[in-house]
Subunit: 145 residues, 2 copies
DNA sequence: AGCACCTATATAAGCACGTGATATAAATAT
DNA sequence: ATATTTATATCACGTGCTTATATAGGTGCT
């Protein structure tokens, strides 16, 4: 029965994800691009290979994305002094600004919807915040499922 | 301060959405396609225009998507007896089967991650289920944000 | 040192799935 | 009846991925 509850929670989360996709205004950058910027913002400079492992995307896809982000000035590519093969990707101030503006805009939209829920429902979601953070902090191993 | 809590919850939800995108295995069908199938499954046959209003997609895009789904046998297009212009789109049994298999697979993956959280965190998420359902049931007006 | 192999990234060609502009056909209004 | 509006379809195109392959740097063995 605890299993059933967890399954129900998983389904609810998945459906909420779908709702969020429809709720947020599409941006000029793809979901992968935003997620990549977020990773660089929170974890500092990363190699292309690291980003490939994080995002569900192929290596050439990530190379192309990094190239477009660099052209737009949102990230910069630097050489790794200790290994001539790798390119270290770092977010720029402009990238941080852009990311923050998107986050604020989306949070405002979602918060507006939250405000329309009942106070009890709002409280339940506020309480669940910690758990959501723990969940979304979980690393993803490519071998699973 | 309640505002701040709601904002924090909104941010946590948004970040969880991003995590879910990375967590789930990409399917042969796009997120829009799955969301469209879900809408047809839960609300019954809909017109192309209804689907356009639900999903963040243009009308030609939806016409194309419906065409591909129909070619794959997941939906069928029928004429509306009361209005010769509209095509009513309905999910087929094969479409339902496919949708169910995806939902089960994703729920299993998310549930596996939930099981790795602390019991308290699990309980918080189980409790928040009702609120998530209420949130994801909210209709989206195109004029907002 | 020299050679084979491995690893990190880049390049190239192609395809899926969107977009905007426009066409067509049915309904509605005058 | 004709004009206008509405619902869908078609067309040409672009972005952002994909797979396959190339290139250049690192590693290990003799």
């Amino acid at each position: 029965m605890r299993e059933a509850e967890l399954d129900a929670a998983a389904v609810a989360l998945e459906r909420t994800m779908s709702w969020l996709r429809r709720a947020v205004r599409p941006t000029e950058w793809s979901a992968v691009a935003l997620s990549t910027l977020d990773a660089l913002d929170r974890e500092g400079p990363l190699r292309v290979t690291d980003l490939v492992a994080r995002e569900r995307i192929t290596q050439p896809g990530m190379t192309g994305l990094v190239g477009r982000l660099a052209d737009a000035g949102l990230v910069e590519r630097n050489a790794d002094p200790s290994d001539g093969r790798v390119t270290l990707v770092a977010i720029t101030p402009a990238g941080r600004d852009y990311l923050r503006s998107i986050r604020e805009q989306r949070a405002a939209l979602v918060a507006a919807h939250l405000r329309a829920l009942t106070p009890e429902e709002q409280q339940l979601l506020v309480n669940a915040c910690r758990a959501l953070q723990a969940l979304s902090a979980r690393p993803l191993h490519p071998e699973e499922v």
